[in-house]
């Protein structure tokens, strides 16, 4: 009888431990590692939050978490995506190299790689994309660019025609690249960025589609740097005041894009963060708070700093 009781208690303990471990595993959300800026912010800088003036752009107290869709893409997928991204080299002329985590393709001046597990890829006519000259040859003269607005139209049309622009991605900016040589500035091409919005909220991090437009509108480079996502679960958001304590303690990714000084919060945004780590390290796209603000004595410059922190209390999830 004593033996039975002992065995029963032991079995129950084992079962309870297993159940607890399983439950922890299911409910556990891997904490975000938000990339820090490579910028020094002096200790004298204070971060200040005035409740009555800060615009909080959301009301909800919970948010969804999304799970990245794992893939196992093949060489055939890589060739198809190479062609979708604009690759023109004939299939028989391609050098395809398969590695554990990626597939690389080289054609005639074309370079492509695909991450097998995520579907992130980069296609580049490398000799063109880094040169201000037509076909990368100074003897041909400098490229004739189409202008940022036209580049945006061309990039968008290209992506739509090749099924590379999901509906949750939207144009965010176009920027002209350039070289400075012999005392003059020569434009190289125009890079057009499309960023994701989920539930009408910005997604920060690596999540983007990028098209570089060169001579007379030629597509020189296409980057797909996002994962496909599916809804996972809903979590409660941590109080904004708790999150701001992290900012004050510099446990946040803080960026000043202008003068550095005492930082006043003007706005708090609820957004999402997509990281670029392997899926086994971070399987979830998660909500974040973005504190935006002005710098004391430089208020006229507008919101020149922000701080990004997770919006989840990991101790409770």
């Amino acid at each position: 009888m004593r033996s039975m009781t002992y065995r029963t208690v032991l079995s129950m303990a084992v079962v309870m431990t297993a159940v607890f471990a399983l439950a922890s595993c299911v409910s556990g959300i891997t904490p975000l590692k938000i990339a820090p800026s490579g910028q020094h912010i002096p200790e004298r800088v204070d971060f200040l939050y005035y409740d009555d003036s800060v615009k909080v752009t959301f009301k909800q107290q919970s948010a969804n978490i999304y799970k990245y869709e794992g893939k196992r893409l093949t060489e055939n997928d890589a060739v198809r995506l190479f062609q979708n991204a604009g690759g023109v080299a004939l299939e028989g002329d391609l050098l395809v190299v398969s590695e554990q985590d990626r597939i690389s393709i080289e054609g005639d001046g074309e370079y492509f790689f695909l991450e097998r597990d995520t579907g992130r890829f980069c296609y580049s006519k490398r000799d063109k994309v880094y040169s201000p000259y037509i076909d990368g040859n100074p003897a041909n003269g400098v490229k004739v660019l189409v202008g940022e607005e036209r580049a945006r139209e061309l990039a968008e049309s290209f992506l739509l025609a090749n099924d590379l622009l999901p509906s949750d991605f939207h144009f965010s900016k176009a920027s002209t690249n350039y070289v400075e040589t012999e005392g003059i500035t020569i434009p190289t091409n125009i890079t057009v960025f499309f960023n994701r919005r989920v539930e009408e909220r910005n997604v920060y991090g690596v999540s983007r589609i990028v098209v570089t437009v060169g001579h007379q509108g030629e597509i020189e480079e296409v980057l797909k740097l996002h994962n496909d996502i599916v809804p996972f679960r809903t979590v409660n958001l941590r109080p904004i005041t708790d999150a701001f304590e992290d900012v004050k303690q510099r446990r946040a990714s803080i960026t000043f894009d202008g003068p550095i000084g005492n930082a006043h919060v003007t706005r708090v945004e609820l957004a999402y963060y997509e990281d670029s780590v392997p899926l086994e390290e971070q399987p979830y796209m998660q909500p974040i708070y973005v504190f935006w603000g002005v710098v004391e004595d430089h208020e006229q410059l507008g919101e020149v700093w922000n701080a990004i922190v997770p919006a989840i209390d990991y101790h409770k999830h």
Partner: protein, 263 residues
Amino acid sequence: MKGTVKVGITLVIVILLMLGLTSLAFAWSTGYLGVSNYAQCGYEDRAGRQYVTNLHNEIKSWTSNSYIKTDNNAWAKHMIVSQSGGDGTADSVNFFAWSGHGLTTTNYQTAHPNSANGTLLNHGTYGELISDYNARTFEIEWGPDKMRWATMYTCRFGSWSNTTKQNYYKKMFKGLRLFMAFDTVMYLDSREGTEYGKRLTNGQYIRTAFVDAAKIYQKNHGFTVKTAVGGWNSAWNDTRYSSTSRAPNWSDSSFTRQVTTVS
């Protein structure tokens, strides 16, 4: 007959010697400074140590490493020219990389380690600008000794936002062939070091390997990120196989700077 054998042996020896010298000349020596621990700044860890470690791991099979100094062993004086109190460590290798904080002032940039050249001083108490933990652009001259390729994985070290910064930037080129850096704020991700190293190993141009890695790993945190690569026109297409001979000092007629928006 004996004479012919002697000539033959001599020729073989000469050819072997030439091959040996060539391979020696083209094998890079490398040195790295990377800081992740910023305890004296009141900061959470950065990924500086991991970035240079990853970069080194990817290219160590074909380079010869002289030093990897991390955290409190990575000092400002290692990067500074001797006339300004430096010890020439950075310039003693062909390929150098720094990864950690960068500090911006109106007229110059600094690489900002945690340690004050071996002493631990609180940056809040002593101020962030003291020379013991800042390698300032106007104190740097790279290339009189061995450095040919520099990578500054930190904020704004390649910035030309005003004439003074431009002049300090150009003054750093004293034999340096190429200089890979950022024009703006940037974000530290150690996987970018792995990507950069893989591309160097594959024989990609050094400058495009750096920018391609940034295109993949730099973040959108609401502000634009731009790379800035500068260098000698004759070294523009340098790869791992290129000569380690000195470049001339910067002149606008023979040097180029390229700015690319990556995020």
